[in-house]
């Protein structure tokens, strides 16, 4: 009767919420209050300034996930809940990496990696380079791993993925 962790998997939710003070706290508080661990949560205003949209990414089993969506659905401040887990979506995450302590060889290598891994060099000085990657979260993971395997002096900032339903493309 009780489900085990076997159906644990990564889930995606898109929430339409009232763009008001306290709504982010309500959503995040609901998750933490019930001990639901989230992977990431991003929020921003939509085409309608009264509405914000959140992309929530979390690992959960079926049962917990069902509870989470029901809890969101009954929250007064949450207007609509879309489950992105099994839909075709476009998703991107912004990631910045500052690589410091570089010599000429290191810098050259980083420029080569930028071409191979499709990230951009946005800023630099004599011994450091600022990398910007706008890719899916998984690809950003790979980029970070690749850079980490070659360089040690890193500063990383990640924005968390945002997602929207695809129109016709199946690819994420």
């Amino acid at each position: 009767m009780n489900k085990t962790d076997n159906d644990m998997k990564r889930r995606w939710l898109s929430l339409f919420v009232e763009n008001r003070i306290g709504v982010l706290a309500r959503v995040s508080g609901l998750l933490s209050g019930k001990s639901y661990n989230i992977h990431s949560l991003t929020v921003g205003e939509t085409e309608n300034p009264e509405v914000s949209r959140m992309t929530v990414c979390l690992d959960a089993d079926d049962r917990t996930y069902e509870q989470i969506t029901k809890q969101f659905n009954r929250s007064v401040e949450v207007i609509k809940v879309i489950d992105f887990t099994n839909l075709s979506i476009r998703t991107k995450e912004v990631m910045f990496i500052k690589v410091s302590g570089l010599n000429d060889r290191g810098r050259a290598e980083l420029f080569q990696m930028a071409q191979a891994f499709k990230f951009r060099i946005k800023d630099m000085d004599s011994d450091s380079v600022l990398v910007e990657a706008v890719r899916t979260e998984i690809k950003n993971d790979s980029i970070l791993n690749a850079i980490r395997s070659r360089f040690t002096n890193l500063e990383v900032v990640r924005g968390g993925p945002v997602a929207i339903e695809s129109i016709s493309m199946q690819d994420r």
């Binding site: 508080g29 029901k70 007064v76 401040e77």
Partner: protein
């Protein structure tokens, strides 16, 4: 449209809502609202003596009348003292609208005197909480608060009112309708799902209704009773659901759960179809999950989607109003007649006879004697309870039928609930007999509310089951913690033998001794000091006389202190976390 201040509008809004009583405690940030209340006569102001007592009174009012309870308190400590009651109302689905004063918007965030973020504090324990930041939003905010509190699964709503916003001038129009795009409660029962449920009911060999608090909240007791009688399906209840059908019906088999009846718990575990209405399968009901109702298909009717399949996975979920679902099933039962439950009921009756709910007479009073007396001596009492042993005994032995009601803190289990909630009950139900039942521990958590009952002239009968212990915790210590009675004796006094031994770590409080101080406090004197009638009952023969004296006192409360058997336990009992078949009967 006339322009009026927020304070003036507040009073107007409550009048438009038809509020008759407001439970309120003044303070700096709400003094101007009080000033407006003073100018009108349409609703009256009840002044409890502590904000926790205040909100429990509002809960008692709301549960017994079905109307929302309205609270008004000041900012800071006034607001934080509401917190326990808000959580209590949230878990037991009680419609409350709580207004809290707040410091002026320009001062918010400055750690101003009596400033707390009460919206933040209550966000996770209320149905909805909001601060009104603009006078233009006040009118809809109040309308929405009443709407949200009373519709769908009812619950507490908090509205925080900054002082400057309330002083501002604005519209005097109270909106007729609300438009909340994120809140559209569904009450309508899905036709195909209910047909499926009905077909399952008529195919079942051992069907059983499990009723929670939702049946009473939906005001569907009469229809539910008719459904039980027409379908001849046995009924069991949670403690919140007790009274959903008359307890003296032969088809009613008692409460399930931790202190439920043997027949009811066995019934749930042996039925092949469980039709549960308005319950969330709380852990106190199911015992160990995965062992609950293993042989049954489960139909679950609840207004709250999030309550369905939260704790127990169900086969047929039905989201909507319990009353509507019950009436649809009743219609089918009227057409199709009774289910064949004769053999099944015979089995349940055998279990009932094998292990009836009972309590042996002892040297001192036992609680069943007192509750039996209430059953006998009162026609239509409304009984409130505290939490712990007193609550379990009441929910086991109090008979509910007709207009009788039982009001108890089920979900949160709030000690100190009994007396203040009875005050709200008495205010909402003038002329009715109102009885609160508490232990000596819980009574002391809100005993100051005796003053409110005296001030309001409420003829409440406050029963204290005094055993000098925090009895339910002591019961667990007795049964599961090697009789280590840590922190559960209420008569301990520094310097006495028991205290010295405790500190040496060699001995425990091993029960009442001759040298133990008999009263801390003397509840009879305490009652009398408030101007209430105080009676102490030590013998069975004195019970009826005490209730007669309480009934005779029409202009104020009576406290009856029953000196009960010190170490009486609540049986049967399921070991916490164990399966509900694993019953300790105490015999």
């Amino acid at each position: 449209m006339t322009k009026i201040t927020g304070n003036e509008f507040f009073v107007k809004a409550l009048q438009e809502e038809g509020v008759e009583h407001i439970f309120a405690y003044p303070g700096a940030c709400v003094i101007e609202i009080f000033d407006e209340i003073y100018k009108q006569t349409q609703f009256d102001l009840i002044l409890p003596r502590h904000e926790q007592g205040l909100i429990h009174a509002a809960e008692g009012y709301a549960r017994s009348t079905g109307k929302p309870g309205v609270c008004l308190v000041t900012s800071g400590p006034g607001a934080t003292n509401l917190v326990t009651g808000i959580a209590d109302a949230n878990l037991d689905s009680v419609p409350l609208v709580c207004f809290t004063g707040q410091v002026a918007t320009g001062l918010i965030g400055n750690d101003t005197f009596q400033e707390v973020d009460i919206v933040g504090i209550t966000r996770n324990i209320s149905k909805y909480s909001i601060m009104v930041r603009d006078r233009a939003e006040l009118n809809t905010a109040i309308k929405e608060a009443f709407y949200i509190a009373t519709t769908g699964r009812p619950g507490p709503v908090l509205v925080d009112l900054p002082k400057d916003v309330m002083a501002e001038i604005g519209s005097d129009i109270y909106p007729e309708k609300v438009n909340l795009r994120g809140y559209k409660p569904n009450t309508k029962i899905h036709d195909r799902q209910i047909s499926k449920a009905i077909n399952m009911i008529y195919k079942a060999k051992r069907p059983m209704f499990l009723l929670g608090g939702g049946v009473k909240i939906a005001r569907a007791v009469k229809d539910m009773t008719a459904l039980m009688e027409k379908s001849e399906i046995p009924v069991v209840t949670t403690i919140m659901g007790k009274g959903s059908v008359p307890t003296n019906s032969p088809l009613y088999y008692g409460n399930v759960g931790m202190h439920g009846c043997y027949a009811a718990n066995n019934g749930v575990n042996s039925c092949d179809l469980l039709i549960s209405i308005g319950t969330r399968f709380n852990d106190r009901i199911t015992g160990k999950l995965g062992t609950f109702a293993t042989e049954a298909k489960i139909i679950h009717i609840d207004i709250d989607t999030a309550s369905i399949s939260k704790n127990v996975t169900v086969d047929v979920p039905l989201v909507g109003d319990a009353g509507e679902a019950i009436r649809k099933m009743l219609k089918a039962a009227e057409e199709r007649g009774a289910c064949e439950t004769g053999k099944w009921r015979k089995q349940l009756e055998e279990w009932q006879i094998a292990e009836p709910l009972q309590q042996e007479e002892k040297e001192k009073l036992v609680p069943k004697q007192i509750i039996d007396a209430i059953n006998e001596l009162y026609d239509e009492p409304i009984v409130t309870t505290d939490v712990g042993q007193n609550q379990m005994w009441t929910t086991q032995f109090f008979e509910i039928y007709g207009r009788r009601q039982l009001i108890t803190s089920g979900g949160l289990g709030t000690m100190g609930y009994g007396l203040p909630s009875s005050i709200g009950v008495a205010i909402g139900n003038p002329g009715r007999d109102v009885i609160s039942i508490s232990g000596d521990g819980g009574f002391q958590m809100n005993s100051q509310e005796l003053a409110t009952a005296v001030s309001e002239g409420l003829p409440i009968t406050a029963c204290i089951f005094n055993n000098g212990y925090l009895g339910m915790v002591r019961q667990w210590q007795d049964l599961f913690y090697n009789k280590s009675y840590a922190g559960t004796c209420l008569l301990r006094r520094k310097g006495r033998e028991c205290d010295v031994n405790l500190r040496k770590g060699t001995k425990h409080c091993n029960g009442r001794k001759a040298e133990c101080y008999p009263y801390i406090p003397d509840f009879v004197k305490l009652a009398e000091s408030y101007g209430a009638q105080g009676i102490r009952v030590t013998k069975k023969e004195e019970i009826a006389e005490a209730f007669a004296k309480a009934k005779a006192k029409k202009d104020g409360p009576t406290v009856i202190e029953f000196m009960i058997q010190d170490e009486e336990l609540v049986f049967p009992m399921i070991k916490p976390g164990g399966p509900i078949t694993d019953l300790i009967t105490g015999m």
